[in-house]
Symmetry: C2
Subunit: 282 residues, 2 copies
C-alpha cells in the first residue's frame, strides 16, 4: 500500500504532462531533458518502472478478464515524435512489461500503394483496436507537401472525429508526444552510425530530414494544438532521458488503467460443487 | 561463447522432442512430467530461460533488421494442447522475452458466425503471418462431431498443404504439443477454483470436457500423426512442469533462429561521410 501511494503521487503525472486543450503549443518552451514528477535518476527510474510494470500487468489481466464478460473498454496508446525520439524503444520497454497476448502493435511507415488508394485513416481503422499512430498524414505530409495544404488542414478535424468515435466506443486514448532536442537527435544518430549492429536503423535521408527540423517542429506543434481534445488530450513526455520516458509512459498507462478500475467478472457457477465434481472424476 | 556451447548441447532439443514423421503416436507412452535435455530443476530452469531469452531477443532483432532489407523469412510458433496445458502461459513467459513489436499473437477460440461461413482455414490465413493455431477443426470438431467424419478427415491434408505453402514462402513452423497429464489438469483446474483471481478462467464445461479426455487424446494423436511432416514436424513438449515447458519452447525457438542465422543488412551509405555531415549541421 505504501508503494501504491507513492505511485499515486499528487499531482498525478497526467496533470503534469497534459497539454492544455485549445492553447497554442510552443515546443521550444518545453524542456526535453526534464524529468517532471519522476524518480531522480536513472537507477531509481529503472527500478520504479519495474514496479510500475508489475502493477500494470495485474491491471491488464483484469481488463482482459473483464473483456471476456463483455466489458468493451480498451486502451489505445499513441506514440508520436521525431526520428530517434524513442517510439520503438518505448514499445520494447513499456509494452514489454505487459502480457503480449493482450497487446497489438502497429508501426505506420510511409503508406503503401494500397494504403494511398484509400482515405488516410483507412489503414488506421483497419489496424484498430491497436496501439498505433495516425498523425503521419498531418506531419511528414505537411513538411514534404505531399498533399495540398487545404487537404491537410481538413485532416485535423477528421482525426478528432475519428478519435471521438473511438472514445465513445469505450477506448481510452493515451497520446504521448516524445519530446527530444535537436542535439539529442544528433547524438542518437551518431550512436547508430558508430555501432555496427545499429547501422541498419540509419538512413542517409535522416540527415536531410534534420535540415527540416524547424518545419517538423511547426507541424508537430500544430498537430498537438489542433488534435488535443478533452476526450483525447496530448501528453508531452520529455524524452531526452530514456529512463524517464519509459517511466513516464508506463506511469501514464498505469494511472489510466487505475481509473478504468477493471474488475474480475462474477462467476456463474457454484465453486464448491465444481470442486466436488472434479474430485469425484476417476 | 561458453554459454553458447552449453545451449547448443548435443543432441539438440529439436532432435529430442521431434515426433518421428509418419509414425503412429501413442501419447500414453510419453511422460508429461519428464524434463528431457533440460536444466535439472525449477530454479536452474528459470535462470536458463532468462539466458535463452537474451539470445532470442538478439536474434529476433537481427531477423527484423534483415526483413527491412527484403529477407522474407519468418517464424510461426504453433501451440497446441489440452485445456490448462499452458498455451497462454507459454505466450506470456516465452513470447514475453521478445520485443513485442516483432510479434503477433492470435488465440483461436470457438469460431464466430463469420468464421463459420468461410473455409476452416480462412481465419488462420487472415491472421497470418501470426503465431496461432489451426487445429481446433480436427480436434474439438472431431470429438464433438461438429462436422461429418469425412469432412474432418479431409482437413488433415488441407492443413498439410497449407503449412507446406507457408514453408515454401519462407516461414519456419515450430509446432509444439504441450503434453500434460489428466491428473495435472485436475490440479490446475482446482487451482483456478481456489484462487478468486483465477476463477474467471474456469467454466463448468471444463469438467464435462474432462469426461471426454480419451476421445481428445485420440484426436490429438491423430493430428500429431497425420500433420507431422518433414517441413513442419511436431515437437512433443512435456508440460506438467511449467518451468520446463517455458525452457523447452524458448530453446526450440532459439535453435531454429540460430539455424536461420539472420544477418544485419549491409549499409548502403558511407559511414564516415554521414558522420561528417551530422557534425557539420548547425
Amino acid at each position: 500500500m505504501a508503494k501504491k501511494n507513492r505511485d499515486e503521487r499528487s499531482p498525478s503525472l497526467q496533470k503534469r504532462l497534459r497539454l492544455p486543450v485549445g492553447e497554442p503549443v510552443d515546443l521550444s518552451r518545453h524542456s526535453s531533458g526534464a524529468t517532471p514528477g519522476g524518480p531522480g535518476a536513472k537507477t531509481a527510474g529503472k527500478a520504479a518502472t519495474v514496479r510500475v510494470g508489475e502493477a500494470l500487468a495485474s491491471l491488464q489481466e483484469r481488463l482482459w478478464a473483464a473483456s471476456t464478460a463483455g466489458d468493451r473498454r480498451r486502451v489505445l496508446l499513441v506514440l508520436q515524435g521525431m526520428d530517434t525520439s524513442g517510439k520503438g524503444g518505448t514499445v520494447k520497454h513499456v509494452i514489454g512489461l505487459l502480457n503480449p497476448s493482450g497487446c497489438r502493435i502497429t508501426a505506420f511507415k510511409a503508406p503503401t500503394a494500397e494504403e494511398r488508394a484509400h482515405s488516410f485513416l483507412w489503414r488506421v481503422e483497419k489496424a484498430l483496436p491497436l496501439p498505433g499512430e495516425h498523425y503521419e498524414d498531418v506531419l511528414i505530409a505537411r513538411v514534404r507537401e505531399l498533399a495540398p495544404r487545404v487537404v491537410i488542414d481538413s485532416r485535423y478535424e477528421r482525426i478528432n472525429a475519428f478519435e471521438r468515435s473511438l472514445a465513445d466506443d469505450g477506448v481510452t486514448l493515451i497520446k504521448c508526444f516524445l519530446h527530444i532536442s535537436y542535439d539529442e537527435q544528433r547524438r542518437r544518430l551518431l550512436r547508430r552510425l558508430d555501432k555496427p549492429e545499429k547501422r541498419w536503423k540509419f538512413a542517409a535521408s535522416d540527415i536531410d530530414d534534420r535540415a527540416l527540423w524547424p518545419a517538423y517542429r511547426k507541424a508537430y506543434e500544430m498537430a498537438l494544438e489542433r488534435c488535443g481534445t478533452p476526450y483525447a488530450p496530448w501528453y508531452l513526455v520529455p524524452a531526452d532521458h530514456k529512463w524517464y520516458r519509459n517511466w513516464a509512459v508506463s506511469t501514464l498507462l498505469l494511472e489510466h488503467l487505475r481509473e478504468l478500475d477493471p474488475r474480475y467478472p462474477e462467476v456463474d457457477f457454484d465453486v464448491a460443487e465444481c470442486r466436488e465434481r472434479l474430485l469425484r472424476q476417476p
